[in-house]
Amino acid sequence: MIRTSIAAAALVATLAGAAPAPAHAEVPVRVRVIKGARQGPASLDPRLEDLRRQLSPLAYLRWEQVDERSFDLALGKPVFVDLPGGDSVGVTLQERRGDTVTIEVALAARNTQSRLTVEKGQRIVHQVAPEKGGAAFFLTVTAWP
């Protein structure tokens, strides 16, 4: 496979254990499983209004919320979220610095992980399953919802 890659200026990886945080550093998060579909009239589930700007560049026209959970993430301890179809996603707090967190999203079915750093007020949107029949599932993670 021919690889193409672009070096992003501010591509920073924070690795597990790189910066110890206090043991009580739990972060409340809201996790939603959402579905985007190409077909049908354009619509956005009212519960996803906060994601409108983030989702608008994508080709999916119809967005609906499938599941929602809220919990506290403790450093290094994954929480698993079930997906439609039986797969699951692991969400782990890797690091917290003030109002900035690094969260790992691990897709068991694909054996891949992503680590993303966001500030309070931002949300992670991560595709969790390949597109099928013109629809794809995503996971959104909001720290301090």
């Binding site: 070096a7 501010a10 591509l11 990886a13 790189a18 694909r110 891949t112 992980q113 992503s114 993303l116």
Partner: protein
């Protein structure tokens, strides 16, 4: 006011590796920062590895100035390809792999003869074992560490007598500590070839060192036979008496 774009920070869709050592984790952290344009992080990587890269290059190319240039070129190649480093191997392995190939290329550009680069082990290679004089000379006696340092000083001269392939494999084995498998992968050769090249390299090195160690041992033996001051005790002085204890009469 347009929304502020925060630069992307993260790694996406990578496969989890086995747990890395703290040193390797720190290297990866510096690499990630360097990829993001953090010049200080890249400087830290250079400073961390510069001497070892230079030592590796020096062993292969022999010339100190050429080794300096090769070492710098290795870091420049790394800098230019940071985006493509996927973390499948450790950063140091990647860096030393580049340094190895640059060193070999530098030598081959100047090489004129290939006749000494043999891999097969033949009966003639087994002769001249020297009866273990080096192990005798370097034994476990701490006094012989001085000889080890003296021999180390002869290493450069000894290395220069080796053909490039033998010199390279010995340097990689000892400076970078590569295993047979890693050497085979690094050099693109079979494990059997690794072993035979190492054999040739060691045999030749030991022959050169033996020429130095023999006279050094003889000198040492001569120093030990000189008569020392009378002590009244066992020959050699024995151990010092504890304070307050009077000598036996």
């Amino acid at each position: 006011m347009p929304p502020r774009v925060i630069p992307f920070q993260g790694l996406v869709n990578f496969r989890p590796r086995a747990p890395v050592s703290p040193v390797e984790a720190e290297d990866l952290s510096l690499v990630s920062k360097a990829r993001a344009g953090d010049a200080d992080a890249f400087r830290a990587l250079v400073v961390r590895f510069q001497r070892k890269v230079y030592a590796l290059a020096l062993g292969i190319v022999k010339d100190p100035d050429l080794a300096w240039d090769v070492a710098q070129e290795a870091f420049l190649r790394v800098h230019g390809h940071l985006a493509e480093f996927e973390g499948k191997s450790s950063f140091s392995t990647w860096l030393f792999r580049i340094a190895t190939h640059l060193s070999i290329d530098a030598v081959r550009r100047e090489r004129t003869s290939r006749k000494d680069d043999i891999d097969d082990v033949e009966e003639a290679d087994l002769a001249g074992g020297g009866e273990g004089i080096l192990s005798t000379a370097l034994g476990n006696d701490p006094r012989e560490n001085l000889l080890r340092r003296e021999l180390a000083g002869q290493i450069q001269a000894a290395l220069e007598t080796l053909p490039e392939k033998h010199r390279t494999i010995l340097v990689l084995r000892e400076v970078e500590g590569l295993s047979y498998e890693e050497l085979a992968e690094r050099l693109g050769i079979h494990k059997g070839t690794v072993m035979s090249r190492l054999f040739h390299a060691r045999k030749k090195m030991q022959a050169v060192l033996r020429r130095y160690a023999g006279p050094a041992l003889a000198r040492r033996a001569g120093e030990e036979e000189e008569p020392g001051p009378e002590t009244g005790g066992p020959r050699g002085g024995g151990s010092p008496r504890p304070p307050g204890e009077r000598a036996e009469e």
